[in-house]
């Protein structure tokens, strides 16, 4: 298979709060990269921090294993940061390449200890810092408006990343990965979330 698009490693950092579906999103990216012919490495957060803590999954894809000695994305190493939450996008921001793309859900998950955090200052900072052509802020209320489960957020974010041109595969490859990793009855609604996300990023 032609995997020349992976001649330079592709690094994607998926971040959010434990329980939001970060691991599944990263597995979808990994599976779709594999389908596109890449060798893939990931590092996931599983365990204690899953209980409402901040979590990060690293996905790295390259033409062969020798190009990826380790699984961790380092400072300013990510081509794409996919964030389920505004504050978590800022926590991960130092790992984004200066040219990298950032996709972020607009809905804040308020830590149990916090009283005045609502994510708006974080989104403002992102809009002021990241050029619009490499930033997509995803309005999660669209899911509700379209009658979709909040659990579809992960695929909607991935759709937005595809719309931004920030993933090394297309919707078809992602759909194939979804069919492989999700229960069959979850695929149709996620397919809709994928379209929504892609459109949203293109129409920005």
């Amino acid at each position: 298979m032609d995997n020349s698009r992976f001649s330079e490693p592709f690094n994607c950092l998926v971040v959010g709060v434990g329980g939001q579906g970060v691991v599944l999103a990263s597995r979808l990216v990994a599976a779709a990269c594999m389908k596109a012919g890449a060798f893939v490495r990931t590092a996931e957060t599983i365990g204690m921090s899953q209980r409402g803590g901040s979590v990060a999954s690293h996905v790295r894809a390259a033409s062969d294993d020798a190009a990826l000695p380790s699984s961790l994305i380092e400072t300013a190493g990510a081509d794409l940061v996919l964030s389920f939450e505004p504050g978590e996008a800022l926590r991960a921001y130092g790992r984004l390449k200066p040219s990298g793309a950032l996709v972020c859900a607009n809905r804040a998950v308020v830590p149990a200890s916090s009283s005045n955090y609502d994510g708006s200052a974080q989104l403002d900072w992102l809009r002021a810092t990241v050029e619009p052509q490499r930033l997509a802020i995803v309005d999660t209320s669209v899911l509700e408006q379209e009658g979709l489960s909040p659990k579809c957020l992960n695929v909607m974010l991935l759709g937005a990343a595809i719309g931004l041109g920030a993933l090394p595969f297309d919707s078809e490859a992602l759909l194939a990965a979804m069919k492989e990793l999700m229960r069959p009855n979850f695929v149709p609604m996620n397919e809709k979330a994928l379209e929504l996300g892609t459109k949203l990023a293109i129409q920005r």
Binding site: M34, T45, P69
Partner: protein, 655 residues
């Protein structure tokens, strides 16, 4: 077929390929998925798979299987090895028959563990070989090799993956028919005095182990898991060497790659160096170590946690070194021991770039390849500690005990599980936490010390989960009864091993073989041990739970209170609660419970703060209703009895 496999899955697949007959262990992050993966690929029950009650039980089971010629894999996290230490230390003396692979998952960081202990040292302590994978695909190859090494030398073999290997995925080629591969042929148990450990046997065995380890060290010198390379530049004499081990190999290679690229960009090259990559740290492959050290003035050792490879190299360069050449021109070894590399925590390529650059004398290159990251204003990144889930029954149990203890001086001894999170504000019902099963016994020590100081007023409460109760708290409870320690033990029975992802345990009666055993009742165990008061209560039946806790606190002997309510991971959420217009915005609900579904938000016109329920997170536990003085939280379950709600919860089991 090429598949994306997590390191733990890859280890499981390799064990299945090796024809493993038995897989056992006790759940513990980051090791849990190994046994689970074998169970998931065991359609005909051809492998006996079990979650043992604890690691000691698993290790002893493994010994029996091995004596019978069976291949067995035992899994645990690093601290689990402490529990299994007794049988493990003895097993290498008695020796194995069928291959025994003990997977001990280490956790540099630590990311989710009590300690940063390094299981390579356990291998040294027990005189057994250890394999230390850098990647999931290497863990896969090493697992298969470990069975061979174990059988060739009649010793158990430790495979020591670290978190990034266990919980990292990689593309790995594996057979398609993983569920239907043949099992290893077991010879059966043949009686022999060799299986009875005895001083005379142990003395001979000690000698045998030493000889075996010498042989294995020779074999490891040519193992595919170790690599010695030289990067030589014509105009630069070779006198520097870098040795790296385990997981750190990946970070080292990446840091070197970046430095090389930075050098190339400036039209130069790195100085000549030798690179030793060690995958078999013990017994150390000395022949390879000698080839590495020969002619070097300085060597840098990169390994996370303890200086195992570093010490091995130091032994070879020190005064007792057998090699005359090395003794006459000793290499200076740098690493953990001289402060060149950090003592603790996880390594990374970012961290290693300046260390390696300085060692190679090219510090200026480190500046080039460490990109400047954009400064994010610190106050914009919200602190986000782990918390108990919305709807978690532990929150209700802690709240009930705290309410019953109001006005009394109480010390809370916690244990290992999700409920360790009871230490955080606002619950603050965990004053100590040591290790699995220690809650019940540390409480006895605190009570004894208080008593000796003339304080019989302070009350001592231990908390323990249901799985932990069976793993290691029953003896502690027997100790309380026997030695007459006044205390309350609260068993937080959520019908699963929650922290590690919902594994069954003796109290559930569910086994990994798909059979059902009679669930062991914690209440009956406590009664049989002779506790003075034993009660079970639903923590969400708040009034009853507080009353039960008051009775337990006033019990003069050993009281056991079993809080029974299922973990939220086991059932679907009930309808969320809602906030009515009666909310005065006092914030008491938020402050009292620390529930992730509750927060304070500005209301519609932005004039005042009001309580807000995140409907996507609320599990409908209704605990917050108890905290509101204005009756401003409304539940769809109003009018239902606690028993009816409990039945509803248990009825909403996840499919």
């Amino acid at each position: 077929m090429r598949r994306l496999l997590m390191g733990n899955q890859a280890i499981a697949f390799a064990a299945l390929e090796a024809g493993v007959n038995v897989a056992c262990g006790y759940p513990g992050t980051p090791s849990t998925e190994i046994v689970e993966t074998i169970a998931q690929n065991n359609p005909h029950g051809q492998v006996h798979v079990e979650w043992s009650c604890n690691e000691k039980a698993a290790m002893e089971l493994a010994a029996g299987v091995s004596y019978s010629g069976g291949r067995v894999i035992v899994t645990c996290k690093q601290v689990g090895m402490n529990v299994a230490a007794d049988p493990f230390m003895c097993l290498s003396y008695v020796g194995t028959r069928g291959g025994v692979v003990v997977v001990v998952a280490d956790d540099p960081g630590p990311i989710s563990s009590q300690t940063e202990q390094d299981s390579r040292q356990f291998a040294q302590f027990a005189h057994v070989p250890v394999l230390d994978p850098a990647t999931p695909e290497e863990a896969y190859l090493m697992t298969k090799a470990a069975f061979e090494i174990s059988e060739a030398h009649h010793l158990p073999v430790i495979l020591r993956p670290t978190t990034r290997v266990d919980h990292g995925c990689a593309s790995i080629d594996v057979p398609d028919d993983i569920s239907s591969l043949p099992r290893h042929e077991m010879g059966g148990f043949a009686k022999s005095p060799d299986f009875v450990i005895f001083p005379s046997l142990s003395r001979a065995a000690h000698e045998r182990m030493a000889h075996e380890l010498e042989t294995i060290s020779q074999e490891f010198a040519s193992s595919e898991f170790n690599k010695l390379d030289e990067y030589v530049r014509d105009d630069y004499e070779l006198f520097l060497g870098i040795a790296c081990s385990g997981d750190s190999r990946g970070y080292t290679l990446e840091a070197l790659e970046r430095l090389q690229a930075a050098a190339a960009a400036q039209g130069t090259e790195l100085p000549s160096y030798r690179l030793l990559q060690v995958g078999t740290p013990y017994p150390f492959p000395e022949r390879l170590g000698r080839d590495f050290l020969l002619g070097l003035s300085d060597a840098l050792v990169i390994e996370e946690l303890e200086p195992v490879v570093e010490r091995s190299l130091l032994e070879m360069t020190g005064p007792v070194a057998a090699d005359a050449y090395i003794t006459s021109c000793p290499t200076t070894v740098h690493g953990r021991l001289d402060g060149t590399t950090p003592i603790c925590g996880e390594y990374s390529a970012d961290m290693l770039v300046p260390v390696i650059a300085e060692f190679l004398g090219v510090s200026e290159l480190a500046q080039v390849c460490l990109p400047e990251s954009v400064e994010v204003p610190g106050d914009l990144v919200p602190p986000r500690p782990a918390v108990l889930c919305a709807g978690c029954p532990h929150r209700a149990s802690f709240t009930a005990v705290k309410e019953a203890a109001r006005g009394k001086n109480v010390v809370y001894s916690g244990d290992i599980g999700c409920y360790t999170l009871g230490c955080a504000k606002p619950l603050q019902t965990t004053d100590t936490c040591l290790c699995m099963g220690a809650g019940v016994t540390v409480a006895q020590g605190l009570q004894t010390a208080a008593h000796l100081a003339g304080d019989d007023e302070t009350l001592h409460v231990g908390f323990v989960g249901d799985s932990t109760f069976f793993a290691s708290a029953m003896t502690g409870l027997a100790n309380a009864v026997y030695n007459r320690h006044r205390m309350v033990l609260c068993v937080l029975d959520n019908a699963t091993t929650a922290m590690t992802g919902s594994q069954p345990h003796p109290g559930t009666g569910v086994t990994l073989m798909g059979t059902r055993s009679k669930p062991i009742s914690i209440v009956e165990v406590a009664r049989a041990l002779g506790c003075d008061m034993v009660e079970a209560v639903d923590p969400f039946d708040h009034v009853a739970a507080v009353e039960a806790a008051k009775r337990a606190l006033s019990c003069e002997g050993v009281a056991v209170l079993v809080f029974q309510s299922p973990c939220v991971q086991l059932f679907k959420p009930l309808e969320p609660v809602s906030i009515t217009s009666d909310c005065r915005g006092c914030g008491r609900c938020v402050r009292a419970l620390g529930c992730p579904a509750l927060s304070m938000k500005k209301d519609g016109d932005g004039a005042a703060f009001r309580a807000h329920v995140d409907r996507a997170l609320c599990y409908g536990c209704d605990l917050c209703l108890e905290t509101c003085a204005f009756g401003a939280i409304e539940s769809p379950r109003a009018g239902m009895s606690p028993a009816e709600v409990d039945a509803m919860r248990r009825g909403a089991a996840r499919g």
